[in-house]
Symmetry: C2
């Protein structure tokens, strides 16, 4: 079967293309009877409006694009749920793309979204994104853009974030107040703002409590598989420092899971030998043995707020209202469990 | 900045639109020098080809669409990784949509993919999908379609699956041979083929080993949150049957995680009091305490094979070669751990 065109419908019903088009769009100057005939045939032939033409005509595609760096993180699953919920309310469809922490792919995906005529774009940047021309391109095309979670400070658009430095600071201060001094940090990649900020929070806490910063206690997890990274770096940490470590603060819960697996199978007791503090409050963190202390990050709310803000900016654009970029910072909380 | 058109480039360089268009497409009848001038300006102005026009002209969009029912399952994460890897090899972009186990949304997403002119579509059906007109529409539009994992037997297209009945049968036979007789089954929704087939495998194993099938031992997990479903039904099971249960076979590992959480906090010993067998071999299944016996499902290979088959069918279509739908069945294996 070929794609059904307006022309075919018009010929079959002996009507003009204009009348068929108006009937499908529900224009009042077409009789009820004609409308019904057109709609019935369109349904029978399974006519699908050409979305490109529709979007040109309506100046909107009722579609937004979302790019996230990873799909295995429960955090992003929650963010996406929040976005989908908001989109459903507004009757928008969501094109979801995974950059897989690949900068080149992220750039291609931005071009795809622009060329598909989406009404707005939400992005959480890949760990490897080191320049932002592709984001400027979106802004130059006058397409509303919101960055969330993994952002670039210098890009002039709205952002939805948490205070990563503060959240990390609070977690490490908690460990210090429990009497821990030799605190390792399993950090993320060197590029991303949230990885930098959590590291800075860790460092600041040590400074404020007169604990000397020891760079040999910082392990970079950048192999794109948090669980394996946690497992392998736990092994390395024990090799490097023996048991001369009190605690570990990790940039994600999944990294902490890798550590737990290694420690549980190598007779290291958590928290008696080494305490553990994660980040993101993944649902498995309360199930694992020992259960994991962590930072609650509210992914669902981040998705909801990001999409809400995007739809607001899309509506403003449609009404030619100029919006000033805003930054929404969501709260975080410490969740204390057995591991600390 | 407005969207840059061919016309603007042509005017700026004092060339015809045809020449500019030919230059961008690399036609041999445009001089090297002119080509370079056009390409340079196109890059400067950040010209993006209109993908709709490109796809009309090339009869391909170099884009495929993928619809999966859920995004929190590690199984689908692995499938998607396999798909993305294959797509990257072929230089295809992937539009990924989550139906969120919602049939209406799945139908809309199919229309979106058809209207966006994708070259092929991969779908794993939602739990609520109960008719298949939308899939027939794809086939009628002559767009290659592959169903994977959650399929509809009656739809005439290629499929990539596992033998769910056999895999479930083997797991339950394993439990029976360990001496368990009162074996409960936490099954999935009533609609999906894989949920039906795993249930049938469970039933067949009981039958073959002369254990009477007791419907009161079957619990349906259909609340769209496997973990909560497992937790709540574990509670219900103990209320209904006390400790008169030897083992539980669950349709997913995440449901088993919910059971483990409930049992660990209510003093039920696994496997001494009740043994546990999951399905899918999620990476957390080896980390949890007790570690979970399960069925290895090879999600990455399923994604890879599905995408590979789709690209094969797309290429055949471009060469006007008619393909006969095929069914690829991937192997599964039992993974035995502490829980059984």
């Amino acid at each position: 079967m070929k794609i059904v065109t307006l022309k075919q419908i018009a010929e079959e019903l002996n009507l003009s293309i204009t009348t068929v088009s108006k009937a499908l769009k529900g224009y009042p100057d077409v009789s009820k009877k004609t409308k019904q005939r057109v709609l019935d045939l369109a349904e029978n032939l399974r006519y699908i409006p050409n979305s490109f033409a529709v979007s040109l005509r309506m100046k909107q595609s009722k579609t937004i694009g979302v790019i996230v760096p990873a799909n295995v993180h429960h955090f992003f699953s929650n963010v996406i749920k929040g976005i989908l919920k908001e989109a459903e309310k507004k009757d928008y469809l969501v094109i979801l793309l995974h950059s897989n922490e690949n900068f080149e792919l992220e750039k291609k995906q931005v071009d795809l979204l622009i060329s598909k005529g989406v009404d707005g774009i939400l992005i959480s940047l890949s760990n490897k994104t080191h320049n932002f021309e592709h984001l400027k391109k979106i802004i130059d095309h006058n397409i509303p853009l919101i960055l969330f979670d993994k952002i670039a400070k210098i890009v002039n658009c709205s952002k939805v974030i948490i205070n990563d430095k503060k959240a990390a600071y609070e977690a490490v201060v908690y460990l210090i107040k429990k009497g821990h001094k030799r605190i390792a940090h399993f950090r993320g990649d060197l590029n991303p703002q949230n990885s930098i900020d959590r590291f800075l929070g860790y460092k600041q806490a040590l400074l404020d409590y007169n604990i000397e910063f020891d760079p040999s206690l910082v392990y970079v997890c950048d192999n794109n598989s948090d669980f394996e990274d946690g497992y392998n770096n736990a092994k390395k940490l024990l090799k490097d420092h023996g048991k001369n470590i009190d605690a570990i603060f990790t940039i994600t819960d999944v990294i902490a899971m890798g550590i737990i697996k290694y420690f549980n199978t190598h007779n290291i007791k958590i928290p008696e030998d080494i305490a553990l503090f994660g980040f993101s409050n993944w649902f498995m963190s309360s199930v694992i043995n020992p259960s994991l202390s962590t930072v609650e990050q509210h992914g669902y709310e981040m998705g909801e707020k990001s999409a809400h803000l995007l739809f607001h900016e899309i509506e403003c654009k449609q009404q030619n209202i100029v919006v000033k970029p805003q930054i929404i910072t969501l709260p975080t909380e410490l969740v204390i469990r057995e591991s600390s």
